[in-house]
Symmetry: C2
Subunit: 371 residues, 2 copies
Amino acid sequence: MQTANGMTRVRASGKAVRVTIADLARETGLTKGTVSRALNGYPDIAQSTRARVQVAADRLGYRPNAQAQAIRTGEAKALGLVLEVREHDGHSPFLTDFLAGVTSAAGAAGRTLTVATAPSGEAMRDVLRGLVEDRKADGFILQRTLRDDPRIAYLREMDVPFVLYGRCQDLTGISYYDIRGGAAMRAGVRRLVEMGHREIALVTSGSEYNYAHLRAQGFLTAMAEAGLEPTDVIWDARSHGDGLRATRALLARDMPPTAIVYVIDQAALGGYRAIEEAGLRVGHDVSVMAYDGIPEGRHASPPLTTWRVDTRAAGAALARMLMERIKGTADPEALRWLADATLVAGGSDGPPAQSAAALRKRLEIQKGGNR
Amino acid sequence: MQTANGMTRVRASGKAVRVTIADLARETGLTKGTVSRALNGYPDIAQSTRARVQVAADRLGYRPNAQAQAIRTGEAKALGLVLEVREHDGHSPFLTDFLAGVTSAAGAAGRTLTVATAPSGEAMRDVLRGLVEDRKADGFILQRTLRDDPRIAYLREMDVPFVLYGRCQDLTGISYYDIRGGAAMRAGVRRLVEMGHREIALVTSGSEYNYAHLRAQGFLTAMAEAGLEPTDVIWDARSHGDGLRATRALLARDMPPTAIVYVIDQAALGGYRAIEEAGLRVGHDVSVMAYDGIPEGRHASPPLTTWRVDTRAAGAALARMLMERIKGTADPEALRWLADATLVAGGSDGPPAQSAAALRKRLEIQKGGNR
DNA sequence: AGGGTTGCCGAAACCGGTTTCGAAGCGAAC
DNA sequence: GTTCGCTTCGAAACCGGTTTCGGCAACCCT
């Protein structure tokens, strides 16, 4: 059955039979233990022997059975990702990119990705625990972190390695990768102020999400630096519909903003519609700036000015950081990384066509005209 | 160390120690083998003994180590999903729902999901093989199937169980779950014809995708049944931008369509823009119908008339079918399921405001006027 | 030459399960 | 009372790896 040229052995059933370490031992005339140590870089193996084993392994196409390794070493060689599926979500068009980043980095290190989903709350804890107890994952990547995230508490308590995509409030002993969303917002506001805007509003998502918090913070800082008071700050706007409603409310104000900053592209696109239905032109009467860099933004009219995030790179970096943490050598707090979002200028922002006061007058006329 | 009340034992390190089958054997005064057989429903175990073991297992919170099981049984108790990441994609906003469906169904049966990504082609084969050889997955779910999909050939050759989300051309020995996209398109065309449309065009995606093929087929069948000639059929339109360009081309025709059917929502939303920039009203001058049911469609103006697919249910069904296939009892061809898409009527379709000829005249005037 | 290192490998235990085999115990049948 | 058969369980091999331990040779040093 055994062929000399490395072809896969085949059972009568037709199923391919895998090469085990015992096969390798027979082939090289060594014992299982020696072969194992040779392959795993133990120091008490002669160089010549190690080479001989390696050659045989390559020739026969030996691949260690990950399960068998796991039972002794305790490592599943798998990373875990638990997605939170609350409400009918949709605000994660980046998932494919993110997964591509994680799995390619993990795969390069011989690791795989186990994905699970859970509604938030207690179920999430059970899912995490289940994966750990069944050794389906050696550690976790947590995305969309809340400011005070219960998942973090669980994992800390269970003493399981994890890394965050996004920061949380208490960062002691935590590894994370994050985008400088605050800095982006700050630069964005400066850009708008330089264009001549004075009445600027913010539409942001849930305050429980840390990213929303940081971006709002950046917005407010920049406003203060420019000596301006925000026209308004509207929270909890995640979706297209939310953005639509928020923007309608902003345009109905006594002093409407000439520029609106959105924390999420989807909401900004909803804003487009509110601006258009008020008879105004995006990027002319009202400037729009957003964050995320979803493809739809580029095709909007005018193209959306937004801060693009390289989600795939984030996934890859997080995978590498998590593997580092699983090895357990490094100090968790040494594993931190901040990347910048890059501005993709579309046509949705520009110098204000008129002052806020003039804009208000125009809106009132429009309203009258529409009756 | 061992506590009587089922509390988790704790090592000096602080790490929780899992309850093994040996603990259970000691606790019950039986041997490992007997405990194993008792838990796995072997017939040669006394009912009283089985009950005693079960009670002890529950009390101590015993969970078999999946890795250890796998090494003997060969089953990893994991389903595999390999995503194809070609170009900068984005046309899978359903991924979260799909994952939720798969993982919840798999989780209910004590199985997990291993996700990998691969660009198409040879790399895909390697990834699939890798997962199988490392026993990271017992079978696969393949989504976005091509008409003649190389992945299917690989898996058949390797004799690995798999199920398809969507059909392919040669269905012998294949299990699948699919949506009756063709029937939806057919009903959609009937609806448009009843509204009075005669000039109807189709904008569809790549012909290598089987779903595009089936939907196009349904469209053409319905047109033939109505005794109509399609105004035009444009292929390879997947994205917002593609839809925009395709629609511009359609409106520039000698005989522009009064209704356009899109195979993908995103493309339809691109179409909105082309229609609006031509000075026409969606749902009045030009009717739009699409397929997928993405959230953005509901918030568009007017709301998009589209065929909604329950992606989460699809994921759950596929997971169950795959587990059935892995058990290997059923005939693969007996595991097939077709579900219907449901029409979500928005305001994007309606009786044509004017004939195609009149529409053409109007477009020419508009064009002149825009100069 | 003798004693202590050092390098290298074999033997065997081990990880946490599953599965095969055989035998003990018991009641029924002859 | 023996034989037979059935139920029920123990013992041990096994799965494919990892890791510990100890022993043998060769080398080094005095």
